[in-house]
Symmetry: D2
Subunit: 147 residues, 4 copies
């Protein structure tokens, strides 16, 4: 129940790849290999305008879940907003509190930056995820439009 969460590190690459690809597959989407590699590089460099990556790890310090978090400016706030773009837990490790531990770690990162908003988007019919989100956050009345 008490998954440990830490920053993503170089040695995590194989596990991270597996998780990120599982996540993309969940959305029945595809991200080209070179884009995934570029994302990995950007996460490792730690670009100021890029996401931070958190991983939940098992007893052997191996990643079993990930969270990619973007801090960005808002016209409404002196500080940054915290946008959780990606959240994924190894399907074999569900219902162990890993997703919750990741979200709580995201909240700590947001607090450290005095973010006035932490938010994310999820598909209306992602019932499993929403069962967790309803416990740790508030469903806003906002829906998303896309070109």
């Amino acid at each position: 129940m008490s998954a440990r969460v830490r920053r993503l590190e170089e040695r995590d690459k194989a596990k991270w790849l597996g998780l990120f690809k599982g996540y993309v597959e969940f959305y029945k989407a595809t991200v080209p290999e070179d884009v995934i590699e570029a994302t990995w590089q950007r996460l490792m460099v730690g670009q100021a305008d890029f996401h931070i990556a958190l991983v939940a790890v098992d007893d052997a310090d191996q990643p079993v879940g990930l969270a990619h978090v973007l801090f960005h400016r808002s016209t409404w706030s002196p500080t940054q907003y915290c946008y959780l773009e990606d959240l994924f837990v190894d399907p074999d490790r569900r219902l162990e509190g890993i997703g919750r531990a990741l979200i709580e770690a995201v909240y700590r990162e947001a607090d450290a930056r005095k973010c006035t908003r932490t938010y994310w988007a999820t598909q209306e019919f992602n019932y499993r995820a929403r069962a967790l989100y309803d416990q740790v956050a508030t469903r806003s009345p906002f829906i998303q439009y896309r070109r």
Copy 2:
């Protein structure tokens, strides 16, 4: 019907203030004066990590609508995403195609940057806005959670 859209400029400050405050008021929210001033300064400086501001102008070149657009990195794309954070039209100038002209200008900015996604959020019950959005974009199944 054919509102002209251009970048926000220093001389627009009074009109911009009126529009932005009207927008915040629409959401029954408040943004402190100093935050509004900081947002104005950031828009004028044109910080790399900050929004660009577009205004729709009337025949006298006076702003009658605004759009604040943030370009940000995504873990899913080699290029930036285009996030339309704020969109507002002077209540006295509704139904003239101003909102649509602003969105189309946002699309052009996104295209110029080869953004692979342009998106925004709106309240489920903002019927007037949605009647327009349904015409120029797609309602995604994504809903927003907030801490």
Copy 3:
């Protein structure tokens, strides 16, 4: 603004037909002529298990809007529920309070029968209708599934 609402009568047939067909068309649906005729007959007979029909009328006592209301048993209540199945206003007579007058008349019919619930369904994207419904009723969290 103060549309009068009364029961549908034999002499209203032509106007009722126009309204009911306009309503069906609004849903991009079709109802065969013989079913429409059967519905008319049932409304005129006033079958105990069938809907009552209300019409909003203009100054010349001509129907400009209709409401078909079914009272049915519920396992949850000693009295009947009031289900507003159909509601339609002549497109040329919108924004005059006719829809509201019809709903208020439905409420009176429900009260006369001591109904413990009055309800109806509408498409999530029927913004014009919802703008009215939000004023006179409560959006429940219930969504509809159909075979």
Copy 4:
């Protein structure tokens, strides 16, 4: 996995009471004892304007789930509509296909009456139920308003 479904009978009263009360409790609602008793009586009498009751039974022929189905007239159809008002499965018997077996039995009853529509309502956030409904039915865009 293959729960048997049959009509509710007199000897089922104790089990039916337990299930119906569990169902009402699920909605954090209350139904007075005398209304529950009246509902039971109406189900036993088999009133023409009242629901039929189906129960899923275990190997000992004891009810472990219920469905109350109302057939009612529609202005849109020569035959009746099939409205599944109540559906509930013993919390100790979840994930065994009992809910699905009940819905399939409802479909057979609807088919026997040549119903042109079978439908029900559920709370948007009833994720467990919706996971099943998404498999056996279609989510319509209809939402429910109530006085």
